[in-house]
Symmetry: C2
Subunit: 638 residues, 2 copies
């Protein structure tokens, strides 16, 4: 039987979902932490001063403690001369009293000795020797009572309200707590958040993955755990479960016992989701099943035993979007933290974004600066199943349910994923290439999408990226000269057939692909390298006097293709194929055999308006032949 | 001999100080951390995909895997009926092959079985029973080859550049690293920062403090440590040292051995600073001594053995200002973090701020919202020695050396101490009072400065705070009715003489103060309670037919005064005095004796323009007699 997927017929509004989570009560008990661990926490109680700060009358400067009355009338030309009768250092108890006509040397921060009611700074005095064997001090100014003395309690007085309940403790509050001698600080507890990954197919990163069984690495557990920590919670990872009811119930119940909030996450398979759903319905209560947002519709909200429960969607982008929108604010509230600083920026949307679903939508977007002060906003939409779109986006644009489209050129507000998100220094698209990767390493913040040669060129012409990289022959002719991409750098790479180490099938060239029974792995049609291969096969067909399609059709595996340069070679290395389209550099890196078919040209093309961008210049500098980047990369020359 | 203070004759410019620190090289070695600890760190190397993601051709939905060609031409009215020959679940290896006219049930995320080149979602099919005992599936749509299949490597392909060197790892990058199976992440090291506190007078918070020896709690160590952590460094606290050269050299040398950067901090005493200075000159190199900034002039920059060294000024506000301005950016750079988000806001300066020093100045300021959309900016200047100004400020306004003043009403830019700093919900000033403190607890973010009754009223009339609290008689009459503060709440508190437990001196009233040889502790003249006392003493003088000053002068300790309500009582409790001016509530709290002298009225007065502010309303609600706040507070009635 096909699993009967739970239908979400009555989707809750985003507001109702927020309210449901707010009703769950995730607040942990307060706790006491050492001062050294208090920064970033939130005060659970008011802190009143238990003492005066300073706790004594304190000299503000280096100089002399004295009786102010003894200096009345003194000045530059008519100093008051006092007998120096002792000295008080900071951190010591005075062993001297100041009488009429006397003074005591005193250092900054020292206790004012009895008898003194003011002090004079050393710069306004002179030490004088009267020849009587005693030391005297000439005071060249008139001092008022209390002058240069910080009286006890002037900074903080005992009983004063020093810090209020709910104060976020920053280094400044740590300083004030230190001054008051508070070394055990009562703070709001951090909500403990249990994360239960579900799905038979999940494997923890670092463990061995069996592709043939359809295993994938568990993406949500660690990324949600990191998000929980960012929101002020304490993440607890639980062992991931398959879709066995008893196992799921055991793990979820344990998590509910131990945590303030339980998040289930990780699976996109309907059967695992159904089991979670049943456990929550039977062991707790579901308040919300399904929310009118995109992505993230299958969100669940409820109670699980005495804990709060939220079921996140399985796809990573959806899970993080739902977490950020609905769960993070609740965790922050429970931790006593202020609402998150929602950092925003504005920019120009590069293409019309349609929306006809009646659900509140979060569009993941990337940012690129044009170099003339404008910021462009482009949608990053590789499907919510794609993990790369996690790292390729800078924020989201919200489209309320009643907005049907946003127009190209429209100014939109982007909610940045965090306040320190910045557009990359350079944004490139196109063919992937090992030499290019080395060059990108030399730019502080570079973003590069390996979409292939032709899609890269198309996007460059649409004025979105700063640069595009092409491989093989490209047609740069266009009607308007003004829009022509500018050639910023180029290099050559050796391409051919990657075979197992030692070339066991004794493959000698392209003809073998057509003539022999070899399993071949190609690149996708977006790849410039595939075009280079196709041209070479066309030449082979010409040579043989046959149609090109005849040659192509005789190659087992020609039509399918892999997206990046190493991917086909790895299929050969795993034993699932005999020959892969690839680069000499790849064969060298993977210690495989290589049959050369020639060299192709790789070009870095620039958006003419953005050649002056710092990031573009840095990339060009890295690709200067003088920089020697091609050295050590097999088959490369500049 | 008075310590010869180092003269800072040639102050470095702020730019030169930045350059000197940048030249020191604090960069630690890279390290490898587990994925679970990678969030917030910075990639030290490029991460290329070592595998395809997904690693297999993957079903995108629940449904049936099939051969697309078998569905060509099918539709709602003319479905293609296929034989159901098996099933593949997520996380399992297919044990079935799809032949012509066949299909296989498949769940989301499962491996596409051999023979199938597409899939159809379950919603576009019907299970049919032909009565032949076998199961069949009617497909009501035509599927294209590759339909609903995520091919291996479509998300990330092996060899692709996944994340660049220098990428800040957020939850999204954690997700991508998870997908690639990376569980050990090469990251930039965090610079280790040793903090050496100097000064004989310093005591660690939590330890016993001897006021009589002039001891104070060490404020800078923990607040700088928290700042180091915020900037991305790892703080190490060293034992604090006095001003013994050998001890200082030993501790500083150990810190230099163990850390990338050594900060000395904590002392304002010239002798300790001089010793630090000598150690650095002899064991390293001083590049900068003295910077033309205020506060913070006595900053030092240099090398100490192989480590970087910065000497911070001793006063807490100066130390944190210098840290934030000069040291934090260097630590962030060394950790590979982007420049700090300098959150700023603008507001109207409430008073003219003069500046005639030729030094770049950082003015600590607080923020208050007027309720009509304006933000006021007021200087917080209690002297750089005050630790309370740490917590009373929200940010700084910079005044370059060539700016001589900023005018009242001028719009200024405030650099917030952190991006989540917000003006308080209510800003009050005036008399300090235990009932008021309880009420302030009920407002989410309240700021209250216990400046006393008269200064509070003066500031309220200058339109800076939202509310002021007065105690005792106040004169609210003014010429203009419009500006009159509004009475928002009031209550009564019992005042009198606080004496040791059991009243050993058998004090019976104010007359004893004048007539007997008792050591008295008063409040400062800013306090409304002192005015109430003065009025009572004037009445006593009238009763006796003497001048008021005669009575006052006969009281030992009348002229001096303590700033807050508990402070005088604590002096009595410590044995340094016999009688204190105070409240019955304070005597009850401290378990001391109390001689009642009467009741005084305490008033909450509001700025008429801001009565509607949420925070003001919350405070008023907390002070509603119905709220019962006075219950349990001895001597209070509402």
């Amino acid at each position: 039987m096909v699993a009967v997927r739970k239908e979400f017929r009555e989707l809750a509004s985003p507001e109702a979902a927020h309210e449901a989570i707010a009703s769950l009560g995730l607040e942990p008990e307060p706790e006491t932490v050492p001062l050294a661990d208090a920064s970033g926490r939130v005060l659970a109680e008011r802190i009143d001063a238990e003492r005066d700060v300073p706790g004594f009358d304190r000299a503000k400067l280096d100089g002399y403690a004295l009786r102010a009355a003894d200096t009345f009338g003194a000045g530059e030309t008519d100093p008051a001369t006092l007998d120096l009768v002792g000295r008080v250092d900071a951190g010591t108890e005075p062993d001297v009293t100041v009488g009429v006509g006397e003074c005591v040397e005193i250092s900054t921060g020292a206790v004012m000795p009895d008898g003194a009611d003011a002090m004079v700074m050393v710069e306004e005095t002179d030490l004088v020797e009267n020849g009587d064997g005693n030391e005297h001090v000439a005071v060249r100014t008139s001092v008022t009572p209390g002058g240069n003395v910080a009286f006890a309690g002037t900074d903080v007085a005992a009983g004063e309200r020093a810090l209020g309940t709910g104060t976020r403790i920053t280094p400044r509050e740590v300083g004030l707590l230190s001054a008051l001698g508070v070394d055990a600080v009562p703070v709001r507890g951090k909500p403990t958040v249990g994360i239960v990954s579900t799905g038979e197919e999940l494997v923890r990163p670092g463990d061995e993955l069996h592709d043939e069984r359809g295993q994938i690495y568990d993406v949500n557990s660690y990324s949600i755990a990191a998000s929980v920590a960012d929101a002020g919670g304490v993440p607890e990872l639980y062992p991931h479960t398959g879709d066995d009811y008893d196992e799921m119930e055991r793990v979820l119940s344990q998590a509910a016992d131990e945590c303030d909030l339980v998040l289930s996450s990780g699976s996109t398979s309907a059967s695992a989701v159904d089991v979670v759903y049943r456990v929550v319905e039977e062991r707790g209560e579901l308040l919300v099943h399904g929310v009118a947002v995109k992505p993230g519709k299958p969100m669940l909200v409820g109670k699980l035993a005495d804990s709060a429960y939220v079921g996140l969607p399985g796809y990573p982008v959806s899970a993080l979007t739902i977490f950020r929108t609905f769960v993070a604010p609740a965790i922050r509230r429970a931790a006593g933290l202020p609402e998150s600083t929602m950092a925003t920026t504005t920019g120009e949307l590069v293409e019309r974004e349609r929306h006809a679903e009646g659900r509140h939508r979060f569009v993941s977007v990337g940012l690129v600066e044009t170099g003339d002060g404008r910021t462009l906003v482009y949608p990053v939409d590789k499907g919510s199943g794609a993990t790369t779109s996690l790292a390729e986006a800078d924020g989201v644009v919200e489209m309320p349910a009643d907005v049907t489209y946003l127009d190209a050129g429209e100014t939109v507000t982007v909610q940045l994923f965090s306040p320190d998100v910045r557009p990359p220094a350079v944004f490139g698209v196109g063919e992937d290439d090992p030499l290019l990767s080395l060059a990108l390493d030399r730019v502080a913040t570079a973003r590069y999408l390996g979409v292939g040669t032709r899609p890269g060129l198309r996007r460059l012409r649409a004025d979105v990226p700063d640069v595009a990289v092409t491989a093989g022959p490209v047609d740069l002719d266009r009607e308007s000269e003004a829009d022509e991409p500018e050639l910023l750098a180029d290099w050559r790479r050796e391409w051919g057939l990657v075979v197992p180490h030692g070339n066991p099938d004794e493959v000698s060239g392209l003809a073998d692909l057509a003539d022999r029974d070899l399993r071949f792995v190609n690149r996708t049609t977006a790849s410039g390298l595939r075009t280079t291969l196709a041209n070479a096969l066309a030449a082979l067909a010409d040579e043989r006097g046959v149609e090109r399609h005849e040659v192509v059709e005789s190659i087992d595996g020609f039509d399918a293709g892999r997206r990046a340069h190493e991917s086909p070679a790895r299929v050969v290395r795993s034993g699932d194929a005999d020959v892969a389209l690839g680069l000499r550099a790849t064969a060298a890196k993977l210690d495989m055999g290589f049959v050369s078919c020639g060299h192709e040209r790789v070009r870095l093309l620039g958006n003419p308006d953005r050649v002056e961008k710092t990031g573009v210049q840095a990339l060009v500098a890295a690709l200067d032949p003088e920089a020697g980047l091609a050295e050590g990369l097999a088959g490369y020359s500049m």
